[in-house]
């Protein structure tokens, strides 16, 4: 009887630890609208749009200048190029270059990495697209590969190992000295992209390889990376302009761009970014990249040159102060039990 009571009270305490903070959060949650910020090569500084207390959109900059919609379009011509086209402002003449709509469009890109995407558990099976199909549209292959003690292709319709293809690819991996199994395998296994560059893979000796399929044959090239760099996260970019092959971070959370064709690694001059806990967004254009790192305290925004990746500027937007209700909920309930997190997709008890 006594044991039952203890169990009942324990269960009730756990439920209260979960339910009460949940109710508190439900009634005091606040929608946070962070300013949308981009670096303007026109002013050489950041400008952003935000909303005032009355909910009215304001387009401004650090100096407090207020801009009209048309002025703002002109400050960010590469982002709002469609509006500039409708205003008849193309071709643009910038830095002595005459830029067509097509050129601006092809150099624009958006890259995102979120903790939930990074921390997600993936099934280690990867489709390998044909990167030189000779067709405009990419096709989903009928097989997938995995890299354990060797590379192995499985026909997904028959659920059978494709021995012939596995042997052909495995021979090349062995010839190139690939140390099995792979550590990090990164790619964009989708047909909704302009072209395919396959995968970037690190092996057991922490060497980086570029792997793709060209006319049904394996392409595997070791990529030289800077000395003492150990890759922790890898991304294949496949942007329209084909300037970069990928991005990666090292053991110190430094971000690098891996250039296409030359395979050169170029360090991007921003502070370290912990991709397991922080979101990264890069909005790039022909001349500069705006890089937003979302941390616990707010948005840290950096601008770098689009060619040299040297720093152009930085700005920080802190999160707004919590509402009174929110403040008291946090004060009164310091211990909270919850099962979900925005940083991963797993369900298990977490206390903070």
């Amino acid at each position: 009887m006594r044991t039952n009571k203890i169990l009942l009270y324990t269960l009730a305490a756990i439920l209260l630890l979960w339910i009460i903070p949940w109710i508190g959060d439900f009634f005091t949650s606040q929608a946070i609208k962070m300013p949308f910020t981009l670096y303007s090569s026109e002013t050489g500084d950041f400008c952003y749009n935000t909303v005032d207390e009355k909910g009215k959109m304001i387009r401004t900059d650090r100096q407090g200048n207020i801009y009209t919609q048309t002025e703002f379009d002109s400050l960010l011509p590469y982002f709002y190029y469609r509006d500039l086209v409708s205003q008849g402002k193309f071709p643009l003449v910038k830095k002595g270059m005459e830029l067509s709509v097509r050129e601006v469009q092809s150099d624009n890109f958006v890259f995102r990495s979120t903790p939930s995407g990074i921390n997600k558990k993936m099934i280690p099976l990867y489709p390998l697209l044909e990167s030189m199909s000779g067709r405009a549209d990419l096709e989903t292959p009928g097989d997938v590969f995995r890299i354990a003690d060797r590379i192995e292709f499985t026909d997904i319709t028959k659920n059978e190992i494709d021995t012939e293809k596995s042997v052909l690819f495995n021979q090349l991996f062995e010839k190139k000295g690939f140390a099995f199994p792979a550590q990090v395998i990164a790619g964009n296994p989708t047909t909704r992209k302009e072209y395919d560059e396959g995968y970037l893979i690190t092996d057991q000796k922490e060497r980086l390889f570029h792997f793709k399929q060209v006319k049904g044959k394996p392409y595997l090239r070791e990529i030289e990376i800077p000395a003492n760099v150990r890759i922790t996260h890898l991304f294949v970019t496949e942007f329209k302009n084909r300037k970069t092959l990928g991005f990666y971070t090292d053991q110190n959370d430094n971000l690098y761009a891996l250039m296409n064709k030359s395979y050169d690694s170029r360090k991007i001059e921003i502070p370290p970014v912990d991709l397991r806990n922080e979101s990264l967004t890069i909005i790039g254009n022909i001349f500069d990249w705006t890089i937003k790192i979302t941390k616990e305290d707010g948005d840290h925004i950096h601008a770098v040159d689009g060619e040299s990746f040297s720093a152009l500027g930085t700005i920080m937007h802190p999160y707004p102060e919590p509402t009174t209700g929110r403040y008291w909920v946090d004060k009164l309930i310091p211990l909270k039990l919850h099962f979900l997190s925005g940083k991963d997709s797993r369900v298990f008890p977490r206390i903070n």
Partner: protein, 195 residues
């Protein structure tokens, strides 16, 4: 009776097949396809496994580039873009078809060694000075980028920089191996076939 009439009919039926197999003229493509057992990869040829300069070889690779300046050269890639070899059309071939690009091409041809030494570089400098150098690549391009890649060259902006880079590489080789030249290999194609 039935068997007697069947045998001549059978003979009549199979005779054209034998005639067709033996009397058709051999095209370049047929010659290349017959020797499938000895087809080498680009990697093998560049590593000079089983082959030496002057040998006639059959090799296969993905055509990554065709010289726009008359289609006399193509570049075949092996297991990665560092394994690329130049294929030059012989007088028999004339020029390569534009459809070779981005396709697997099987080539029969002679492996040719090309040496770059100080005399070669001096003559090149002279051609640059007199502006008589043969132009390859698109306008404004410093030579054919595929050819530079096949030779493991660094990206440069002027022919003079390329020449200087070659001089440095020769100096390094002389220091290491005692040889005052660089060897590059290409294939002089006798025939080719798009797979």
């Amino acid at each position: 009776m039935k068997i007697r009439s069947f045998i001549p009919m059978l003979l009549l039926a199979i005779t054209p097949a034998f005639v067709a197999c033996t009397s058709s003229p051999k095209s370049n493509a047929d010659t290349v396809q017959e020797n499938t057992s000895s087809v080498l990869s680009v990697d093998d040829v560049l590593a000079q496994n089983q082959v030496a300069p002057g040998d006639v070889v059959i090799l296969e690779g993905v055509c990554t580039h065709i010289c726009k300046h008359g289609g006399r050269k193509i570049f075949l890639m092996g297991s990665d873009d560092t394994q690329t070899i130049r294929i030059e059309a012989s007088t028999e071939v004339g020029k390569f078809s534009q459809s070779t690009i981005n396709n697997i091409v099987r080539v029969e041809g002679k492996l040719v060694e090309e040496r770059i030494d100080e005399a070669y570089l001096t003559a090149w400098e002279e051609r640059v000075r007199q502006q008589t150098e043969e132009k390859h690549g698109s306008a404004g391009e410093n030579g054919c980028s595929s050819e530079q890649k096949a030779r493991g060259e660094q990206k440069t902006n002027t022919p003079q920089q390329r020449i200087e880079n070659f001089r440095n590489r020769i100096a390094q080789r002389e220091k290491k191996e005692g040889k005052n030249y660089l060897s590059f290999y290409h294939i002089e194609a006798i025939s080719y076939d798009i797979q």
